[in-house]
């Protein structure tokens, strides 16, 4: 689950046409005024999708692809105009005029291009808790965005209608990095979040936008599957102020069958993020019958303890039927509680239950004196008692980024 519930398409979804998750609804006029002040020409009309297949109803004209097309980073040129992508462990070898697995990077005559730079198909203002990031600027807002595409194909993806498509198949707006940084600032968002689909595949845009944000004091966080090669991870996520990794399961077979990916590179990515000193939180989406065994929970918790330490927040999140797993039930809350109990027993300090609004395991407790330090209800941080990065009651340091 990347960044929370299903994202509605279109940049104008920032405007409050969306759901209760929004904390700052804006009318369309205000949004457009912001966009124009930033010097960008948004074509909101281009967002209209064709609603019919009848030949007499031909859809809207194609967008100018060239403004989204930028030479990719992280690839190697081969003979006969082929390239080898070095962004993720798939290492797609891509022939001329072909695309990689992600569908958003294309070889033209031996040069590899991203097709989604500044090509935002979804943008929202979300509470940071929605990512979920619980130890990072609680109670603040994140200007959250995505392009189309993904480098895996999770059967439970709740954003498959933007992650499992090619960019030309979804309406998008041209939103260059500086525009995003300006919009974040104007809407009181101290953070830009790259989320919903899979930010690995829009790394070039992510990096440029993070740079633009940092120039104006806006931070960046990423919500990612972590399925990335080391050099790309260090370069791209090195610009992030916090990272949330979706660790889909603790078995290679699940990664192969349900995710169409691999576990090992993701574990390596987590270790790399730790050595980089990057604030990281982990979400484990618990899917009934597929990755919900006690042994898997134990192995996971033990691995985290050994390789990442006791202070990495681990969120066990409730699955909801979606995409290709509509036949499975919602994760029972007792299953989530069992997972948490196993992780707690291993000694992990910050184990949460996600997607169950009102559950006490959404709160942050001091691992030493057990007093509640951050009270959350759903996506809202109602009470934040952490002082100077620690527990105000016993003085225990509470790791995280608590203040801007």
């Amino acid at each position: 689950m990347s960044g929370g519930r299903k994202a509605a398409a279109g940049v104008n979804s920032v405007l409050g046409g969306a759901r209760s998750a929004l904390s700052s609804p804006l009318d369309r006029r205000s949004f457009l005024r912001c966009a124009l002040v930033s010097g960008a020409a948004l074509s909101i009309g281009d967002l209209a999708r064709s609603q019919t297949a009848m030949p007499s109803w031909i859809g809207p004209p194609k967008q100018d692809e060239s403004r989204f097309t930028v030479e990719a980073k992280f690839y190697q040129k081969l003979q006969t105009k082929k390239i080898k992508c070095k962004l993720c462990p798939r290492e797609c070898t891509v022939g001329d005029r072909e695309r990689g697995y992600c569908g958003v990077r294309e070889n033209h005559g031996g040069t590899y291009y991203t097709l989604v730079h500044s090509r935002v198909c979804t943008a929202h203002i979300d509470p940071i808790e929605k990512k979920p990031l619980f130890h990072y600027l609680p109670g603040t807002l994140a200007f959250s965005l995505a392009t189309a595409g993904c480098n895996v194909n999770c059967k439970f993806c709740q954003n498959w209608d933007i992650s499992q498509v090619r960019p030309e198949q979804v309406p998008a707006d041209y939103a260059p990095p500086k525009l995003i940084a300006d919009l974040a600032k104007q809407h009181g968002c101290p953070t830009i979040a790259y989320t919903y689909s899979e930010p690995v595949i829009f790394s070039e845009y992510l990096m440029d936008t993070a740079d633009a944000g940092h120039e104006t004091g806006i931070r960046s966080v990423v919500v990612s599957n972590g399925y990335m090669q080391e050099e790309a991870l260090k370069t791209a996520y090195g610009k992030m102020d916090a990272v949330k990794i979706d660790l889909k399961a603790f078995s290679e077979s699940y990664y192969k069958d349900v995710v169409v990916g691999e576990l090992k590179p993701v574990l390596e990515a987590l270790v790399t993020l730790r050595t980089m000193g990057k604030w990281t939180e982990i979400v484990y989406l618990v899917v009934p019958t597929l990755n919900d065994s006690d042994s898997e929970f134990s192995n996971l918790a033990r691995w985290i303890k050994t390789n990442l330490g006791l202070d990495v927040p681990l969120h066990f999140s409730q699955f909801h039927p979606e995409y290709l797993l509509k036949n499975l039930p919602i994760t029972p809350v007792p299953t989530l509680e069992r997972a948490k109990a196993i992780a707690d027993a291993e000694g992990l300090h910050y184990v949460y239950i996600g997607n169950v609004p009102g559950h006490p395991a959404e709160n942050t407790y001091c691992p030493k004196c057990r007093r509640m330090l951050v009270e959350r209800v759903g996506l809202t941080a109602k009470q934040i008692l952490i002082r100077k990065g620690g527990c105000p009651f016993c003085g225990q340091p509470i790791p995280g980024i608590w203040h801007a």
Binding site: R49, S50, T52, A53, M54, P55, S56, W57, I58, G59, K62, T80, K81, K82, T93, G95, D96, R97, E98, R99, G100, Y101, C102, G103, N153, Q164, V165, R166, E168, Q169, V260, Y323, L324
Partner: protein, 336 residues
């Protein structure tokens, strides 16, 4: 070999089959097994029509010769003493007929305009209205680059890409595949004729009839792992693809024996042929043999040696798919 109007179809076929046996004996098609009897029950007929003079003196195709080649192959495949007869068996007005072409290779290696025009002419002579014929592939720009004129209105043959109308919202799935289908396939065609190009493919091994269906789904890039196996077979099992595909006319006028699917002129060859069948698996099997034969001639290793044998063909023929046959003993190969 040309059709002579005063020769019955039966005599014509007899001469073709005898010709096939002669070709085999002469070793011209060492990888192919031609039948010596008529098409027995349980066999799939694959017809190869060739014309060494297809281009005359120039590089372009001679439209009249393309028409002849098409007629010969269709009459051999579907029976008929007159060129229109097989088409009247295939299509029935007021059906809407799609032509799924392949234009990824641009002008150099795409379904030929003259072939498509010849097909459209025969369809109309069989009673299909021009406006009920739609030539399509994934993208309108790619169609244009391959020489097709985009047409979406009027009483003429339609031609446009799925980018103009989009994909169905609902996913359809089979096996390891879950995709959204082109709305051209689902809403503009009662049936369609598959018009692929015979090419080497650096992932799947070859691309011909079955892989051409990747152009009908929204997410083909997700299905290139493991040499596209079992994905190609699973895509062809999607109900509307399986039920609406009535015929494959594979354009092998210019084919590619290496470096596909993109166009690389150094690997093209003028095979000057059409390969026609109602069994896409058998057609792909034959196409594979043709490419292997050319590769051997050029001193290239087999696709198996290159670790990209088209295993999807056997998968498409297996008990779980039964999309056709890849058993040479059950393929009736006719050369006309």
């Amino acid at each position: 070999m040309y059709w002579h109007g005063d020769t019955s179809r039966r005599d014509f076929l007899k001469s073709c089959l005898t010709g096939a046996a002669i070709l085999r004996a002469s070793g011209r098609l060492p990888l192919l097994e031609a039948t010596e009897a008529g098409t027995a029950a349980g066999t799939s007929r694959v017809v190869i029509a060739r014309d060494a003079m297809l281009r005359g003196r120039g590089a372009g195709l001679d439209s009249a010769r393309v028409q002849n080649m098409l007629d010969h192959s269709m009459q051999a495949l579907l029976d008929g003493d007159h060129p229109i007869e097989p088409w009247k068996r295939l299509v029935h007005p007021p059906e809407k007929v799609g032509l799924k072409v392949n234009v990824l290779g641009g002008r150099g290696l795409s379904s030929n305009l003259q072939l498509v025009e010849a097909i459209c002419e025969r369809l109309q002579e069989a009673g299909i209205r021009a406006s009920d014929i739609v030539i399509w592939d994934r993208d309108s720009d790619e169609l244009g680059h391959a020489g097709f004129h985009i047409s979406t209105t009027g009483n003429r043959v339609q031609c446009f890409g799925t980018d103009r109308v989009g994909y169905e919202e609902e996913l359809v799935s089979h096996g390891n595949v879950a995709s959204r289908l082109s709305r051209i396939l689902t809403r503009s065609c009662d049936l369609f004729i598959n018009v692929p190009v015979l090419k080497d493919h650096d992932g799947a091994g070859i691309t011909a009839a079955l892989k051409n269906m990747y152009g009908a789904i929204h997410n083909p890039n997700k299905y290139h792992l493991n040499a596209c196996n079992p994905y190609i077979a699973d895509v062809n099992m999607l109900p509307m693809i399986r039920t609406k595909m009535c015929l494959t006319i594979c354009d092998a006028t210019t084919a590619a024996y290496e470096g596909g699917p993109g166009y690389k002129p150094q690997y093209e060859w003028r095979y000057n042929a059409l390969i026609v069948s109602q069994d896409p698996v058998a057609l792909d099997y034959i196409g594979w043999q043709i490419i292997e034969h050319k590769r051997a001639e050029k001193g290239l290793p087999t696709l198996e040696a290159n670790r990209r044998a088209p295993r999807y063909i056997a998968t498409a023929a297996d008990a779980q798919h039964r999309l056709g046959t890849d058993d040479p003993k059950r393929i009736a190969l006719l050369e006309v």
